[in-house]
Amino acid sequence: MTSKLTAILAMLSFLTVAAPPVSAQRKPHIKPTVRLAKTWDGAVAEAKMLRVPIVVHLHGFY
């Protein structure tokens, strides 16, 4: 009985060590998204050069 328990515990400890963290297990699914400017100044400079409007999307996370 004790030896069976020891074996199970040993197996569980192996699984704990062997399993990578959740974040590393799943490769995030990245959906195609519109290309967003990283900075406001960069957006203004780029829009001037390309002679296009800036579309500002103002959203709330919740």
Binding site: H29, I30, T33, T39, V44, R51, I54, V55, H57
Partner: protein
């Protein structure tokens, strides 16, 4: 939240040809705090070659990019207080040409953006370069930063030289983006020259081979004279 427009295939294509897109997202910090899956990040190589955490929902943007955008003029275009809001902005005057209160369709934004583009081009003429051209600058900047990360000054300067050649017929305002990339490489080359100058005091032979190559790479730049002077010094020692 935003997927109906920002992840709409037709809108992605339209925006690539006709607009510059900016996102002002409030309360992201709450999502991060609550470990909301929409605030999740993924690790990818950043512009300097180092690992960066990008938002899964907004590839290419970090949480800090989002927070920084909230502190810019972009955030001021919602004068209604209602969320969501969409503003079509003239980049020359920074005036809001159109504002859409509440949720809207990608079709509506495309119509308004097309009108705005016509107005902008009527006032300022057609563009001399395309977004595809600008991507060459972005690509070159990424290569320069990567080369610097690997402490490869010669590679960084080579990338700039090739970029200069490709863009020599560009209009002056567009060349400013090329100047900015060159400045990144020159700043790094200045540090390398500083180190070599210091090393030359104690070990001139170690500097000789390095400075010869660097002199060739720095031809035509603001550092050419300084590099040549160091070369002459170590060869005379």
């Amino acid at each position: 939240m935003h997927s109906a427009v920002l992840q709409n295939k037709k809108y992605i294509k339209f925006a690539d040809d006709n607009t510059v897109e900016v996102l002002v997202l409030s309360s992201l910090e709450k999502g991060i705090e609550k470990k909301d899956r929409k605030a999740a990040t993924y690790k990818a190589e950043g512009p300097d070659g180092q690992e960066v955490d990008y938002l899964v929902e907004f590839p290419g943007l970090t949480p800090n990019d989002i927070f920084a955008m909230q502190r810019t003029k972009a955030a001021s275009y919602n004068d209604t207080g209602a969320i969501p809001h969409t503003a079509i902005v003239d980049p020359f005057t920074l005036e809001k040409l159109q504002g859409i209160r509440g949720g809207t369709s990608s079709k509506k934004i495309m119509e308004l953006a097309e009108d705005a583009q016509k107005k902008i081009r009527k006032a300022h003429g057609k563009p001399a370069i395309t977004r595809r051209d600008l991507r060459k600058v972005d690509d070159a900047e990424a290569k320069v930063r990567k080369a610097i990360h690997k402490e490869n000054v010669r590679k960084a300067l080579d990338v700039v030289r090739k970029l200069r050649h490709k863009t020599k017929k560009w209009p002056e305002d567009a060349k400013k983006s090329v100047d900015a990339v060159e400045q990144i490489a020159i700043s790094y080359a200045t540090k390398v020259l500083d180190k070599l100058t210091e090393l030359a005091e104690s070990n001139a032979p170690a500097v000789r081979s390095k400075i010869s190559v660097l002199c060739r790479k720095l031809e035509g730049t603001s550092l050419e004279e300084r590099a040549n002077a160091l070369k002459a010094k170590v060869e005379g020692d």
